[in-house]
């Protein structure tokens, strides 16, 4: 029934985890393996209520390895974890990156260091992700800024994982995953099942021979027509260990190039460039909500301020970098003490005119941001 105040629609009260899991399932992710950890408890329980294949594992290393096995067998696995679990998974994430195994990792950030405070939100894991793959190769990282993004970016994460044959991280936080939001289901875009670009040639099948798009066509292990090889050690296109041979180096360079050169396929951001604005607020994830409120209030108060919400954090979209370079004054708002995005943008040296709004143990508020813009 249409309602004047609500503007009609199909309104539900749903947590972000529900939207993430439902969108992933619709996109074709069919297996969940995980060890429950706050704040991804609801990711775990929703997955158990939704995914065709589900396994509660004994620990996060087992979870990530079992996911990798499922992926090699042609499934699209998902897990949910937070820093302590992700730290354990890190070697396996490298393995999956090297083997080129699609999977989606929902990382719910919580306050650290270490075990920290499980039920306190945070945005503290960005630089860990930036350096997650040994060698500095980019692990695609998408970051929802509101419940609708939980839906669309979860589906995009599945798509990127399959089309680039790579693990993808959906970087969220306690606030996004465990808060119950009002969501208009009728306004969510339809999620299409991701197509697997499986090899259909006559052979010989060369496991890591990439065609156009720098991604080798996939065949599941134990395929009945062609022999497959997957390898986590440095290998050439045959999938066999080749140390630092030219073929092996070329294959390793391709892993870097495929994510960089195809980054445009998943460069998501909201840029609201206001006429007359001299300041750009940059934010992502949970803090984007405060940034949106701050920019709106500043505009109403006669101080037009531009806003950039990053939804793809790795690799950083070129459009975002261009936008940032156009402003003399840039305020980067994020829920951490040290300014991780700021450091990723301009290094430890920083850039004149770029300052941060930071907090731990509480959400960055619109007032915090307004104060910094007006400073």
């Amino acid at each position: 029934m249409a309602h004047p105040a609500a503007g009609g629609g199909d309104l539900v009260s749903a947590d972000g985890s529900m939207l993430v899991i439902e969108a992933l399932a619709r996109a074709g992710a069919d297996a969940f393996v995980g060890y429950p950890i706050t704040p991804t408890n609801l990711i775990f329980s929703h997955a158990n209520a939704r995914f065709p294949l589900f396994r509660s594992s004994t620990d996060e290393i087992s979870a990530a390895q079992t996911m990798s096995g499922l992926s090699a067998a042609g499934k699209l696995p998902v897990t949910g974890t937070s820093f302590p679990g992700f730290a354990l998974m890190l070697e396996t994430v490298n393995m999956a990156f090297m083997m080129e195994l699609p999977m989606v990792i929902v990382l719910g950030q919580r306050m650290g260091p270490s075990t920290g405070s499980a039920t306190t939100g945070a945005q503290g894991d960005l630089l860990l992700l930036r350096g997650a793959i040994s060698g500095g190769y980019a692990l695609p990282v998408l970051c929802p800024s509101n419940p609708e993004d939980c839906w669309t970016l979860a589906a995009e994460a599945a798509k990127v994982a399959v089309s680039l044959r790579t693990p993808v991280v959906l970087l969220t936080s306690k606030e996004m995953l465990m808060t119950r939001w009002t969501v208009d289901l009728s306004a969510l875009p339809e999620v299409r099942r991701v197509e697997w670009p499986a090899y259909d040639g006559d052979g010989p099948y060369v496991p890591y021979r990439a065609g156009e798009g720098l991604v080798p066509p996939f065949l599941p292990t134990c395929d009945g027509s062609h022999r497959t090889r997957f390898n986590a050690s440095t290998h050439d296109e045959t999938g066999l260990i080749r140390k630092a041979s030219p073929g092996a180096i070329a294959n390793t360079e391709r892993l870097w190039r495929k994510v960089r050169e195809r980054a445009g396929e998943f460069a998501f951001l909201d840029l609201d460039a206001r006429d007359g604005a001299s300041t750009l607020i940059v934010s992502y994830g949970m803090t984007a909500g405060a940034a949106r409120v701050a920019a709106a209030r500043l505009g109403k108060a006669g101080r037009p301020t531009s806003l950039l919400v990053l939804k793809t954090l790795l690799p950083l979209p070129q459009e975002a970098l261009d936008a940032i370079s156009r402003y003399d004054r840039v305020v980067v708002a994020e829920e951490n003490l040290t300014g991780l995005l700021r450091e990723m943008l301009h290094g430890t040296v920083g850039r004149e005119g770029v300052t941060g709004v930071n907090a731990i143990g509480r959400m960055v508020s619109p007032d915090d941001i307004i104060k910094e813009v007006r400073r």
Binding site: S13, T58, A118, E175, R180, T182, C222
Partner: protein, 421 residues
Amino acid sequence: MSRILVESPSYPYCPGCTHTTAAVAIARALEAAGTDPLDVVVVTDIGCCGIIDPLLACHTVHGLHGRAVALGMGIRLGIEDPRKRVVVIQGDGGATIGLQHLLEASRLNVDMTVIVLNNMVYGMTGGQASGLSAREVREMRGMGDGAVPPYDLCSLAHAAGAAYSARVLATGDLQARLSAALAVRGLSLVEAVGICHAYGIASREDLERLAAPETVLVRDREPYSMSRRELPSLLDGAIRPRPSPEWASLPGTRLGVVIAGSAGEGVQIAAELLASAGIAIGLRSTKKGEYPITVGKGFSTAEVILSSDRIEYSAIERPDVVIVTSKEGMDAARGMLGNAAALVLDDGLEVPGGFTGTCMSAPFRKAAGAKGAALCALAYWLAESGVMPLEALEEVAGPHRHAVELRRAIESSRTCAGNIL
């Protein structure tokens, strides 16, 4: 019959290394079982034993150190055809790194064969002894803990539930044990104790003297499989309050409500009902909760925002009301009282010093009991402030499995005589 070994294999191992013997035995056992190379995947670990992939004409997966069993388990669970075989090869180092994976695969009785080539040393890093080394080997390799016995891998796997666990000398009847293992449905483990000429036991005599006794342990169990389920959309079961025009709220509404009480006293449910009722009266809402590590003891607080506009920022900047129903709730909510417009208290609590907003007090705990106090107090405030009719709250409580108790708590607020302090 097609061969599992590639044409003219070039063995990478040192002369006399039993890894060569094992590679041939594995291939022969698979061939003897009539396995087509495209029907088997060999999953290899790190170490000398793990560089076997190029010798094999079947599918191979070369993973991380110590993780091959967990990786193989994922592969087994992902391959739908039960006739396909999964064989895992690891060394003694990998076996202790990933001991949990072996125990778990055994507990589940995953249908695959795990071959541990135990040469009692880490061949790739200079011959350090391992958790599977005989005491004499530990002493010989200078580990300084020769009094400590090695793990008995077969007993551990058997105790955890593996269908078949065998220890055999790599110089002995290895192929026969491998054939027996491949014939098993469920987790089969073959620990082949062998020779590392470079660092470990170098002669057959020493091997026979120092290796733990050969053994075969069997258990008759069904193997595990991950059942595939068809489950409905989560959105079908989402909380979908039906907006009713008769309860339409005022445009421009934005309310922040904090409810604070004790765990197990219905704080979270009261807040969820408020969030749903907000949607029923045409608003948007957010709800979030905080509680200590244990959910059944200590404080429990919840924050609800009700707004005519889309909610971008989900924290409450200035609470319109803080509702407190217990001492623990008061302690947890104290930090939010500073700029709250109103406070609603159980009458057993004292108004905190320095609070300057409107304060209402009523006997919620007496009227609704401890479990209903939060909802009773919320209903009381809704009626007093006129934010929404109690019918909206009652309506959204309807589908709840404790609907009767919830409605009783809401009802009890009507008879609660309060004071404005």
